[in-house]
Amino acid sequence: MIKDVGYLEILKTNPGTSIQDQGRIGLAKWGIPISGVMDRRSYNWINHLLKNDPDAAVLEIPQPGFKCRFDSYTTIGVAGANAEIRKNGELISSTVIRIQPGDELEIGKFLSGSIVYLGIAQGFQTQKILTSRSLYLGITASKMLTKGDEIPFFTNQSFGEATFSSAKKNTSWFENEVLEVYPGPDFEELPKEIQNRLLDSRFTISTLANRMAFQLEELLPNSISERLTAPVYPGTVQLTSGGKIIILMRDAQVTGGYPRILQFSEDALSIVSQKKVGQQIQFQLKNLPNIE
């Protein structure tokens, strides 16, 4: 296979655009967060559609107002939030898009969802640091991409003739407000009444939502004392001493001291990633087999 390098140049972007893949798996022993894409479901789907390796790197675009230009032939795919996509100024609806040298792609208004994924045949080819291309400040030089950045990929003109399935994007799942969770190690420490309140109420995504954590607007009274530092994961729900509910996301620290009251299922984590500030969620407890 020909492996000539082409570049995607960022002409315009709002803050937060980054390169992501599956993240740094198994490096928590050195305090390294896993990082990786926020919405794994959309990521897996676009790489599957592009016949990529499951860990191929994509662009994660959390805000409208993104524009880029390609200098070589390739095929790209757009997943995640439903957004207005324009190629060379023309609105397009296909998921898989053939690209010729000089083509410009624009991601406009988000109609539903909050993160767009831009995948590319064979994945983006930026440098891997500690097993991953995911941007994370302190490990990579920067945490986000900016105007003028040039992102390498492998170009191949024959992609133009390859057939890709024209599967229609299904995003109805990110309208789901009911999120499947498991009881966290400290769930049983909550008084019954508070447990019920946690499971019966609806909670709102606050403006404090980023790749590290989503804080919820509503408070929950907390009578559990702070814990000795213990491992946490993306999808761990913490309850702070002030009663704030925090859902840890992909860039979360690997350990924490707040009580761990819930743990998201993998799919619930993808769903919540696509929620916007002000949207509501509800937890649905799923029990695990009992440990004697």
């Binding site: 928590a28 000795l228 213990a230 491992p231 350990t255 695990l288």
Partner: protein
């Protein structure tokens, strides 16, 4: 000192000890970690450590039959391998310019600065695990006379190498970060280098000691780094 088993999700299972963190508990944790890898190595992606916890990430959803195997496993007794004896010497400059909370903390603790430095450097600290930031060591052994609550409003920016006290703990910020601990000094050494494998020099179970250095030595080691000293 048997661990309690708790399942957190289909792919997360945790061993928990309701014990005070000390060398004995750490010895158990590290020995159990080895036992997990020899018993379930092919099923486990990673084991994360906390003070009282070993948390295992599994490759596949845990089935009822495997849960039984884990339950039997935590009931067995394992051989304890002794803690490592390696001791690392971390040079620290306790200068109020580099440790911007040194003066205020000494006042709050009613200790003069020299006494505070002596209490901080006399102790040997045990590395329990890495967490919080890449390369951040959770250390046990801070003299109770130096325990002091974290700041209620964290500082926006703490520089890499800052040596600080927060609650009953002391630690070194490996990378720039916001933080609520009281900074009392700074080390010129690099604690985390993403271009090295491993990116950290020490391992859980090993010990460290803070060695006071002058401002001149600090500047010299900053421009011309020397290998970090250790004893076995």
């Amino acid at each position: 000192m048997k661990p309690k088993l708790r399942q957190i999700s289909p792919v997360l299972i945790e061993l928990f000890w309701d014990e005070k963190p000390n060398d004995i508990l750490l010895n158990h944790l590290l020995s159990w970690e080895n036992a997990i890898f020899s018993q379930f190595g092919s099923e486990v992606i990673e084991v994360r450590k906390g003070f009282q916890t070993l948390s295992c990430v599994l490759k596949n959803d845990l089935k009822q039959s495997n849960l039984k195997a884990w339950q039997c496993f935590v009931e067995t007794s394992i051989d304890l391998s002794p803690l490592p004896t390696k001791l690392w010497e971390i040079p620290v400059c306790y200068d109020p310019e580099l440790g911007k909370d040194l003066i205020s903390l000494s006042k709050s603790l009613s200790l003069d600065i020299q006494k505070l430095i002596t209490l901080h450097t006399e102790q040997t600290y045990r590395i329990h695990f890495f967490g919080f930031l890449p390369g951040f060591m959770y250390l046990n052994g801070l003299d109770p006379a130096l325990h002091f609550p974290r700041k209620s409003i964290p500082d926006r920016k703490i520089e890499p190498g800052s040596v600080a006290i927060g609650g009953s703990q002391t630690g070194i910020y490996p990378t720039e970060s916001p933080g609520g601990w009281h900074v009392i000094g700074k080390t010129p050494i690099t604690l985390f280098d993403q271009n090295l494998n491993p990116p950290v020099f020490a391992k859980p179970g090993e010990q460290i000691r803070f060695i006071p250095i002058s401002r001149e030595e600090f500047e010299q080691l900053s421009t011309d780094p020397k290998p970090i000293k250790s004893h076995d």
